[in-house]
């Protein structure tokens, strides 16, 4: 129902519109689907929102892996609800992207062909039940830090989707932390499982905020457009500052021997991130990249006849009516 109003041909007349667009950004007025917007702004938004949507969708897989094995019926319900929420998040975000004049099918196609990126943390395997706890606590925890600022971003549909998503993410983080609390208060094997999960998920979670500011070339433009409100390093520091005491409370050790409170800075200092690993996983050589994509391709291709049948039936109905 939205039409894309960006007219690149009319670039000559754009100065007026550009001025009005910039004014809106300055005054903190949201940009809405039918408003004029620079083509680069639209393209960047489509890329950012769809990458985010893909991350929610691929993100269903590692945790979905444990739905059938959740160790209590209540945990099974919580995990079903959590993974279902992630499907919802993907859906809200694809909807937001669709207001910019791209169809969800095009975005799906980009994901399935391997052209589009998604958060590389989901290319790590979930090996034990404790990984469900670690993901909720760390990965959803990091996602919240990333996403709360975006509820104030300049593009209206994106901001509104983020508001809805953030409300649900807080349940995700808490249920994950609660899994960790129970494991840490449990038997020795349960606690060992929790520590092992933290050992494996800590650094990938720290990497979730993206490359260091010094190596993040697009940030400045995005910050001007208000579709990025804090730098990668700022958000990363915030995550570490709030998570370190939580690990202490659990009685778990974060796998970073350089992690310590710096009174002078008022922040935690932490060790060097292995950015080689980060880029390797982004490029496709993480432990699960191929499996994750395969699972999405299979679901899409094996569902093709179902989607087609529903359309065919709807058309028959319309013809008969």
């Amino acid at each position: 129902m939205y039409t894309q109003m960006v007219d690149v041909e009319a670039a000559g007349a754009a100065s007026d519109e550009q001025r009005r667009f910039d004014e809106k950004l300055d005054r903190g007025v949201t940009i809405e689907p039918k408003d004029w917007m620079p083509e680069a702004y639209r393209k960047t938004l489509v890329r950012q929102i769809s990458q985010h949507a893909h991350s929610e969708i691929v993100g269903m897989l590692p945790e979905g892996n444990w739905i059938t094995r959740a160790p209590s019926l209540e945990r099974k319900l919580i995990l079903l609800a959590k993974v279902q929420d992630e499907a919802g998040h993907g859906l809200y975000l694809y909807s937001a992207a669709e207001t910019l004049g791209v169809a969800r099918d095009e975005l799906t196609e980009a994901l399935l062909s391997g052209r589009a990126k998604y958060s590389s943390i989901f290319n790590y395997p979930t090996l034990t039940w404790a990984d469900v706890g670690a993901i909720g606590w760390l990965v959803d925890g990091a996602a919240i830090i990333n996403q709360i600022p975006l509820t104030r971003c300049s593009y209206g549909p994106y901001a509104r989707a983020m508001t809805r998503i953030c409300k649900e993410e807080s349940f995700h983080q808490r249920q994950g932390f609660d899994v960790m609390v129970k494991l840490c208060a449990g038997t020795a094997p349960q606690k060992a499982m929790a520590q092992d999960a933290l050992d494996r998920w800590w650094w990938p979670a720290v990497m979730m905020f993206g490359p260091p500011d010094s190596a993040s070339p697009n940030s400045e433009q995005s910050m001007h457009w208000k579709i990025k409100l804090f730098s990668n390093d700022e958000l990363r520091q915030r995550f570490i500052d709030q998570t370190a005491p939580q690990a202490d409370a659990l009685g778990l050790v974060i796998p970073d021997c350089e992690l310590r409170w710096n009174e002078a800075r008022g922040h935690y200092d932490f060790g060097a991130v292995d950015w080689d690993e980060f880029y390797r996983v982004v490029r496709g050589d993480g432990p699960c990249n191929r499996d994750r994509l395969r699972a999405r391709v299979d679901a899409w291709e094996e569902g093709a006849w179902v989607r087609e049948a529903a359309l065919a039936h709807a058309e028959k109905r319309t013809r008969r009516a």
Binding site: R174, P245, Q246, H313
Partner: protein, 100 residues
């Protein structure tokens, strides 16, 4: 699984409007894809009222408006009420732990 040549056709997009318990009017909550109006309503129920957010749904495709049937309210909306675990306050956080 043979890939159907016509399967590239996406299901149409529907805009979803929901009136909440205390809401005065239907409010646009987002969109979704569905093959027909019935499916759009059911999907809207499953996508947008998972936390008991609505009492009435409208789905709109192009110029058409289809509203949910008030008589079906019970089956549509009551189930979510007892899903307390969906709300973050369901989990007690150990004393002293912040930022959750």
């Amino acid at each position: 699984m043979p890939k159907n040549a016509r399967a590239v056709r996406d299901w149409p997009l529907w805009e979803i409007f929901i009136r909440s318990d205390h809401g005065l009017a239907h409010k646009h909550v987002g969109s979704l894809h569905a093959a027909d109006a019935t499916m759009a309503l059911q999907n809207a129920r499953d996508v947008y009222t998972r936390r008991n957010e609505g009492t009435s749904i409208w789905v709109v495709r192009a110029a058409d408006i289809t509203a949910s049937v008030p008589a079906e309210r019970g089956a549509f909306f009551d189930p979510a009420e007892d899903k307390v675990y969906r709300h973050p306050t369901f989990f007690t956080v150990p004393e002293g732990v912040k930022h959750l």
